[in-house]
Structures are given as C-alpha cells and as structure tokens.
C-alpha cells in the first residue's frame, strides 16, 4: 500500500519554444519556460489478503530540476515567487480533493461499525500475525502480549516492503503485478461477499444464492477492470474507497484493542523513517522509479485527476468532456503517437507516462500556464481551445494504506470509545487537520512525504484525550443541560 502523498505536476514548457501556436509567448512569460518534470507515480506494496498489514511503500514522482533552456537569473526568481504564490491556490483545491474521499471512506467505516455488529464482535479469532491473546489475567500480561503482537506485525510489514523493493529493483514486474492482482481479487470478491452477508444478516434481508452470486461477480469483475485496467475515474475512485474501507473493517475486527493502537503508532513511525531516511526502503523505491522514469503500481494509489487526459489530448473538442468519457481516449491517442508505455500491463497509470507526456509537448505546448499566458492565449486567435481550469492539470495522490489506517483509527474510535460520537468526531477532525498539514508540507517541499505520521499522531492524541478527559466533562454538562 502506498503511504505517501505526492503531487503530480506536468509542466513541460521546455519544448514550448518549438510549438507553433504561441510563437509570441516566449519573451513575455518567464514561467512558460519553466521545466520541471515529474515522472512516475507511486509505488505500493501489495497488501496480501487475509489482513496482513500492507507495507508502506513510498513513491512519488519527484521533481527533477532540469535547467530551463535559456533564462536570465532574475527570471528564475520571479518564477519561484509565482510558484509559491500559486502554491496556496494549488493547495486548497487539492486538499479538498483528498478530504472528500477520506471523509467518504471514514463515513462508510463508521456507518458499518455502528450498524453491523459483526465487525465489533469478538469471535475469539485472531490473525496469524497477532497470535498473542489480549484476554489475559493481568494488565501487565496484556501489555506484553500487545507489544509482542505489534512487533510481529511490524516485522511482517518491513519484510514485505523489503521484498517488494528487491523485486522492483531486480525488475520482477510480473511477480509484483501478480501479487497485486491476487490481493485485489481477494478483497473484491471474498471480503465484499462477507460484508454483504453480514449486512443482510443485520437487516434480516433474505437473498437467494443466485442473485448474490450475480451481484458479487459483477461487483468484483468491474472492480478488477477499473482498478487494474481502465475505467471511468469516479468509478475507479469509488472502488478504491470501497476496498480501503473493507480492509480497514478487517483490521478493526481482527486486531485486538491495545495491539491496534500500538500498531497505528508504530506504523506511522515506520512510515516516517522509511520515506525520509536516505536508506529507507520506500525512498529507495522512489529513487529507483525516478531513475527508470516509469510509473509503478497504479493499482494501489488513489489519484484525484485523470479527467484532463482526455481534455488536453483531443484538440477537436472545444469543451470539457465528462468524466465518464474517461481514459478510453487515452490508448487511441497513445498508440497514435509513439513509443509504448514502459510497464505495459497497467494502462491506468495514475498518470502520466513519459510517452503520453511527450505527446502532449508535441501537440499542445505548455501544459502549465499562469494568468498572463492564459490571457495572451485567449486574446490571440488560436485553434487551440482555451484552458478553462488549470487547477485540474495538477493532481494529488494518496496511497491506499493511508486511507486504510485513517479509517481504521476512526472506526476503532467509534467502536470502542464509550463517549461514542464525540470521540469519533474529534478523531475525524484531527485526521483531516493532519492531512491538511501534510499537504501543506507537500506543497512547500515538493517531494514524496509520508502521510501517516501527523494525522495518526493527532488522531491518537485526540482519541485518548477525548475519551478520558472530555467525555466525563461533556457527560456532566449534558446531564445538567449546561452549555459551553
């Protein structure tokens, strides 16, 4: 699973000078010749089914600072200032583009926890990764057991991440693809079948096997197609949210309480180290991907934009297509141009393969414009349709591992906290603020960052503080009906 947030920018103005439509742009717009390429996409470790904790794999398209073609020094300064000014405009919209799916995933998990008792019931079953029981006689024994469980789980995650990095480094793409394929197969068919079964039990709905089989089969197959191949953007996003929610529910059910909190804490520390330390496995993964300039593991990253691939690629259409027209256009455009995409099986790269990008350069020129360039273009008579909304050009990506752990925290808070909704709300707001801060840091530093630490830290602090301190206070206030 992907544990990083990254932003994907495509500004390919380096070849702008060669493009026909705007010969007059060059002297006026300093940012027009800005050349910063972002290749690749995120890597994700496969979360094997059966609820093993996915390794956090980082990724990230990072910035290759390539010096622009012919620039005086002062132009670079202006460009950087403009860049930072655009940071806020860029940041706000993309923060919301991540808030919405994270909120949806949490809502699904909390709604399920509150209504379907299966996920909060202790059936005595445990995962093989957490063999020590927590129903012990003494508190000390329970603490020791939970520490041991967390250690085992984290070791498993580290080992899997290392295996993934090694497989990637030695180019065993087929193995990785197969692994991802199997794990999403398990999630989409088996876990969703269990989920449906439990929902029907809760609401006492009788459904025959044939209908159930048809429903689960269709759900699963469409999910596999959307995630691993091509599909409308919204559908793909919806499927990613659903599988994250399913995975989070599995964790909530099968991880005992203290173990779960410990795992959350330890995995955010691990995420921090793995992505930021120079020898961290995720950082190695990111750098390798960068060197090879290829996208990796698109199936395990949530990406907020793919729509504009269609808009920009087709010069005949004057206005934006709807999202459903989707990436169907993409292969025709790509095959029309030149070199095939490097890692062929997965066509829906959360992005922007290098072939696609170079195709854009040749056809359309600058993909990133400022106010001035836009004004110039709109004033000039031009065959190219004006860029309507250039916030859409940049997208943000968040790994599915982040979705899973956020939802797991909020779900656990709603399942076990005695203060019920107050604790859930507090954790929800804390996680969103953590995500906001992470994206702010991302906009400032512009490299792959771990998305877990800040949010999980805030979430844990607020969970324990609200459950132990705020809840008694609010209960007393509600009893006397005092308002603060």
């Amino acid at each position: 699973m992907e544990n990083n947030a990254e932003d994907v920018e495509n500004s390919m103005e380096q070849q702008q000078a060669n493009t026909a439509p705007e010969p007059g742009q060059q002297p006026q717009e300093p940012p027009a010749t800005r050349a910063r390429s972002r290749g690749g996409s995120g890597a994700g470790a496969a979360d094997g089914g059966g609820g093993d904790g996915g390794g956090g794999n980082g990724t990230g398209p990072e910035q290759n600072g390539q010096p622009p073609t012919a620039r005086p020094a002062r132009v670079v300064d202006a460009e950087e200032e403009e860049d930072e000014e655009m940071t806020l405009k860029y940041g706000a919209k993309h923060v919301i583009m991540l808030f919405v799916p994270v909120t949806l995933c949490m809502v699904v998990v909390v709604a399920t926890i509150k209504s379907v008792s299966f996920y909060t019931r202790n059936d005595g079953q445990r995962l093989i990764y957490t063999p020590f029981p927590e129903e012990t006689d003494t508190v000390a024994q329970r603490a020791v057991n939970s520490i041991l469980n967390a250690t085992i789980m984290i070791t498993v995650i580290i080992v899997m991440t290392l295996v993934l990095v090694l497989l990637y480094k030695y180019r065993c793409y087929k193995v990785i693809q197969g692994w991802l394929f199997l794990s999403s197969l398990l999630l989409l068919f088996f876990f969703s079948f269990i989920y449906l079964k439990e929902v029907f039990k809760t609401y006492n709905v009788a459904m025959d096997c044939i209908t159930l089989a048809i429903v689960v089969w269709n759900f699963g197959v469409v999910g596999m197609i959307c995630i691993h191949w091509k599909g409308p953007l919204r559908l793909q996003q919806a499927y990613l949210i659903m599988i994250s929610a399913l995975m989070a529910l599995v964790f909530i059910k099968y991880l005992p309480e203290w173990t779960a909190w410990l795992i959350l804490a330890v995995i955010s520390v691990y995420d921090l180290l793995a992505v930021l330390c120079p020898k961290g496995p995720l950082r190695i993964l990111v750098e390798t991907a960068q060197e090879r300039n290829e996208p990796i593991f698109p199936a395990l990253i949530y990406s907020s934009t793919m729509v504009w691939l269609v808009n920009m690629a087709d010069t005949d259409r004057p206005k934006r297509n709807s999202a459903e027209a989707g990436s169907v256009q993409q292969p025709t455009q790509e095959s029309a141009v030149e070199s095939p995409a490097p890692s062929s099986p997965s066509q829906d790269d959360g992005g922007f393969t290098s072939s696609w990008v170079s195709q854009q350069q040749h056809r359309l020129g600058p993909l990133q414009s400022t106010e001035e360039t836009r004004r110039e273009i709109q004033q000039m008579p031009s065959a190219r349709p004006p860029v309507e909304d250039d916030d859409e050009e940049r997208g943000v990506k968040l790994g599915l591992g982040d979705f899973i752990f956020y939802s797991m925290l909020v779900g656990k808070a709603s399942a076990t906290a005695s203060g019920d909704w107050n604790t859930t709300l507090a954790c929800f707001v804390a996680i969103l603020i953590g995500l906001c801060l992470t994206l702010l840091l991302l906009a400032i530093f512009r490299k792959a960052l771990p998305a877990l630490p800040i949010s999980i830290f805030f979430g844990l602090v607020f969970y324990f503080a609200t459950d132990n301190l705020v809840r008694p206070f609010m209960d007393q206030l509600a009893l006397h009906q005092f308002y603060i």
Binding site: E81, E82, E84, E85, L88, K89, A92, K93, V95, I96, F99, G419, D420, W421, N422, L425, A426, V429, A430, L432, I433, C436, F462, A465, T466, N468, L469, V470, P472, F473, M474, Q476, L477, A478, H480, Q481, F482, Y483, I484
Partner: protein, 258 residues
C-alpha cells in the same frame, strides 16, 4: 423517541448551519479548510478546559454533590474563557498567514478576506460546539425510551435542539464581531463578545426552566445578529436592495457564465 424526534431535532439544531455551509462555503476549498481549522481550534480549547476540570475533580471531594456542581460551573466558565482565548489565537494565526501570503504573492488582493475568515471561523467554532453538545443526545433519541420518566422535563430533546441552534448561530456572530473588534483594536467589542458568551452559558445554569434560559438566549442571539450584520457592512439600504433583487454588485458577483 422515534425517528421523528431524531430528524426533527437534528434539523432544528443543524439546519441553519448546514444550509449556510452548503450555500456559502462548500464551493470554496479555502473556506472549507479554514472552517475545519476553526473546528480544530475549538476542540483544542475544549480539551484544555476538560483537562483542568478533570484534574480539579480528581483532587476534590467526590462525595459532595454541591462541590461537584461548583466545580462544573467553574469548568463552564473556564471553558468559555478558553474558547475566546483560542478564538483570539486563531485570529492571530490567520493574520500571520495572510501577511505571509500577501508578501509572497505578486497580486494585490488576497484570496480570502478577513471578513470571510471571521465568518468561516465563527461557523467552524459553532459547528464543533453544537456537535459536541447535541450529537450524543440525538443518537439516544433514535432508540427506545421515555423522556423524563423520573419527573424531569418532557422537553429535553426539543430544548437541547433549540439551544444548539442558538449556540451555533451565536458563535458565527461572535466570530464576525470579535475579528472586527480585533482588526479595529476596539477592545470593548472583544470584551462584549466574551461577556455575552459568559452570559449565555450562565443562563443555561437554570436549565430545567427552559423559558428563562432559552428566551434571553434568543434575544441575545438576535441582537448579536444585528450587530454582526452592521459590522460586516450591512445596512437597511443594502438589505432592501438585496431583498428586491436590485443589488447590482451582488448580482454581478454571482453571475455564473453559462
């Protein structure tokens, strides 16, 4: 104690706030972010207040009911003061962020004005305050039960819902007035906000007598509303133009191209 009570009380409590959110804030990403940040600040203030209250309860005599009630009243007053302190802290933070942004950007105008920030942060405080006050009560109202079976008031849910609505709107008005007072350095305005917040909270101490707590609260809410309206630049003339759809600035600003 049915779905009717649940939905009714939810819409009474959160109806105005949610419609304000949907019509004015939901489309602007920056406003949403500042709303959630405002909610976060309120939450932190509550956390600190509960911490102090909790410690004071632990070191006190748990048997004596009057002492506990006294401590609770102390907790309420402390919480109100902390909320206003955090509102001021949020104001300072926003000013710094705005200054930084203006220094960085080439443009003259900021993406969001201090007045919008005041409105949004007040609403954020209100949302969180209302949610924490009433969500557990609403969750209980869905299930089976009898209200006031031990002789307490039968109107518990309804009065809670109305009080919550008043509090949410009040927070929004207080936000606007408070930020304006800080901007213009009129400290009596700030003090007035703090005092009115204290008054509203202390009014709830008489609470099973809902008339004496709800009616003054609503009067205060209306007067704060009018004050905030004038602070934000409204006037009778503006209001008339708006209501008769003759306000040209508003129409131009909201004109959406086809």
């Amino acid at each position: 104690m049915t779905a009717a009570v649940f939905f009714g009380c939810t819409f009474i409590a959160f109806g105005p706030a949610i419609s304000l959110f949907l019509f004015t804030i939901a489309r602007e990403p920056l406003r949403v972010i500042f709303l959630i940040a405002g909610a976060f600040f309120w939450l932190v203030s509550l956390l600190l207040a509960s911490l102090v209250w909790f410690i004071s309860v632990q070191i006190s005599n748990k048997e004596s009911a009057s002492q506990q009630k006294g401590l609770l009243i102390f907790g309420v007053v402390l919480s109100v003061l902390l909320q206003e302190t955090f509102r001021f802290a949020y104001y300072k933070l926003l000013k710094k962020a705005n200054e930084g942004l203006l220094a960085l950007s080439q443009e003259e105008t900021m993406p969001i004005s201090i007045l919008q920030l005041a409105y949004v942060s007040g609403l954020g405080f209100g949302f969180m305050s209302g949610a924490f006050s009433v969500v557990n009560i609403l969750a209980d109202s869905v299930g089976p039960g009898t209200v006031g079976i031990h002789g307490d008031s039968q109107h518990y849910f309804l009065s809670s819902a109305f009080m919550t609505m008043a509090i949410i709107l009040l927070h929004m008005f207080w936000g606007v007035i408070f930020f304006d007072g800080c901007e213009k350095r009129r400290w009596f305005v700030v003090a007035a906000v703090v005092v009115s917040h204290l008054v509203v909270s202390c009014l709830t101490f008489q609470n099973p007598q809902y008339v004496s707590s709800l009616v003054p609260t609503y009067i205060i809410m209306l007067s704060m509303g009018i004050w905030a309206f004038y602070t934000a630049g409204g006037s009778l003339r503006n209001l008339k133009l708006c209501l008769t759809c003759k306000d040209k600035d508003f129409l131009l600003a909201n004109h959406r191209p086809r």
